[in-house]
């Protein structure tokens, strides 16, 4: 019961936030609700004994991507008060996609080897393991990702820079 309460709190944050994202009519509420949902997800990572991932989740999604989205919402002022509506003929496609997605998720949930008892949890610091794996086993993907990001950075700079200079 002890940790279940806090766990349920985070679950409620995640699902409730996601529900507000889906149903709220004002786009700024959607943005802030997404923040709530992402924060709840970070809490769930903590329950998976992945504290480093949880902190990364907060830094990257709440502190970075959310701010980016908020800036986007605020800078496009005409959008902030637009009522969001979904066209009716899209519902059927949305239903099909949802069904497919749920089947995949259900299959994953059924087959994954879940840790169900407290004793099975790994209590070692995650950051050291992650760092080691990134520098040894997954060095190539890591480097490719960093090269991709560098390319994105240079591309963004190229677009932003005025040509008459």
């Amino acid at each position: 019961m002890g940790k279940d309460f806090v766990f349920l709190l985070f679950v409620a944050m995640t699902i409730g936030g996601a529900a507000i994202v889906a149903f709220a009519k004002r786009i700024i509420y959607n943005a802030f609700a997404l923040m709530l949902s992402l924060f709840g997800l970070a809490g769930l990572y903590v329950f998976l004994s992945a504290d480093f991932i949880a902190a990364v989740q907060v830094v990257v999604y709440v502190g970075g991507i959310m701010v980016l989205m908020l800036f986007g919402v605020l800078l496009t002022t005409k959008l902030t008060d637009v009522k969001l509506t979904t066209l009716k003929n899209q519902r059927i496609w949305a239903g099909i996609t949802l069904g497919f997605f749920m089947i995949v998720l259900g299959a994953v949930i059924q087959r994954a080897p879940w840790i169900v008892t407290h004793e099975e949890l790994v209590h070692d610091p995650q950051s050291a393991t992650i760092g080691e794996l990134l520098m040894t086993k997954y060095l190539l993907p890591f480097e490719i990702a960093s090269v991709l990001l560098l390319a994105a950075l240079i591309g963004a700079l190229f677009i932003v820079r005025s040509e008459h200079k």
Binding site: G2, F52, V67, L70, F71
Partner: protein, 353 residues
């Protein structure tokens, strides 16, 4: 290694009669509540006297006396001010977005408060010694950005929105040099837990991180200090609440107790960056000399943080405010390259020795 740790909150919790009979969940909630109350009291008391210190330093720097009337040399002045604030009407303008307007100050204050749980207040004393310690601090403090935007947007006021946008841009930018300078420390120590970082620096002030791999961590400390000044919106980086331009930035429409929460959060952040700087670079609770170890560790920790806070205040009354483009120039073209050089330097130093 965390088994020997004294947790002041849990110690207090065990003092409550009949706490063992409560369910586990209630105990978790109760300890969270206790930690909140303790930290709130800590920050509130600190904020009262930080404001007093700020006003006194401002006064003496400008050849004035500062508050002198309430209490001996004005010692009770800020308490009187706080009582005045509590009595003020909780006033919200007509066209604000009520939900977000109400939520924002608490979110800002929550981020300021929850940073304090990981600090190593003394040897073996901290509320929660996470093994990602310092990274947790960075993560939590990044939640403040959307909260500030929330406050600025919901106020439905141009100045508030400008202040919020500036604040967000500033904090997001300066998180990078601060993070890079913290990486310098982590590279020397090899651990992210705050308690371990401080333990690493024991045995005289020359063992402190600031004097390790000499010029690089020294520069990293200044990068950290400047970046932290910008992150807590202190002069010369106080553009988000520039009084002469934006009234009070994102706090313009707030009054009474809600404004007091912003205020507390601001001074809480000030203390937080002071404590982080003291723990990471200046040896935390470690005394500067071995023979001074009879002084309790928490006193050293607070003293070092207070020195940093004093320098913050001192800078505030010395320097004018930067322009936005200068702010970004300092961050991206000076602090970030220097921080990268520091990382490379520290890395080479650690590999070679």
């Amino acid at each position: 290694m965390t088994e020997t740790l004294t947790n002041p909150v849990l110690t207090l919790l065990r003092l409550i009669p009949g706490v063992e009979t409560l369910s586990d969940g209630m105990q978790v909630l109760l300890s969270g509540f206790l930690a909140g109350v303790i930290l709130f009291a800590f920050i509130a008391v600190f904020a009262l006297y930080a404001v007093y210190l700020e006003r006194k330093v401002a006064g003496h720097v400008q050849d004035r006396l500062g508050p002198m009337e309430v209490g001996w040399h004005g010692l009770l002045q800020t308490i009187a001010d706080a009582i005045k604030l509590l009595n003020k009407e909780d006033f919200a303008p007509k066209d604000v977005d009520t939900k977000l307007f109400t939520l924002a100050p608490f979110l800002v204050f929550m981020t300021a408060l929850s940073v304090f749980v990981v600090f190593p207040y003394d040897s073996q004393v901290s509320i929660a010694n996470l093994n990602i310690g310092i990274f947790y601090v960075i993560a939590i403090s990044s939640i403040a950005v959307p909260a500030v935007i929330m406050a600025g947007w919901s106020s439905n006021n141009k100045w508030s929105l400008f202040g919020a946008m500036r604040s967000a841009a500033q904090i997001v930018s300066y998180e990078i040099p601060v993070g890079l300078s913290i990486i310098c420390v982590i590279m020397v120590v090899g651990h992210m837990g705050m308690q371990e970082i401080v333990e690493f620096q024991g045995g005289g002030f020359w063992k402190w991180v600031i004097f390790r791999s000499f010029p690089f961590n020294f520069i990293a400390f200044f990068i950290f200090f400047l970046g932290s000044l910008a992150e807590v919106n202190r002069t010369p980086f106080d553009l988000p609440e520039a009084e002469s331009e934006l009234v009070a930035g994102f706090m313009t429409e707030y009054s009474g107790m809600r404004w007091a929460f912003f205020f507390l959060a601001e001074y809480g952040n000030m203390l937080a960056v002071g404590l982080v700087g003291a723990a990471l670079f200046l040896g935390g609770w470690q005394p500067p000399f071995e023979f001074l170890s009879f002084v309790p560790g928490w006193l050293w920790f607070i003293l070092k943080a207070l020195v940093l806070i004093f320098v913050q205040i001192w800078l505030r009354w010395t320097l004018p405010r930067l322009r936005v483009d200068q702010l970004m120039y300092v961050c991206w073209k000076v602090l970030v390259p220097f921080a990268f050089v520091c990382i490379i330097g520290v890395g080479l130093w650690e590999v070679l020795t």
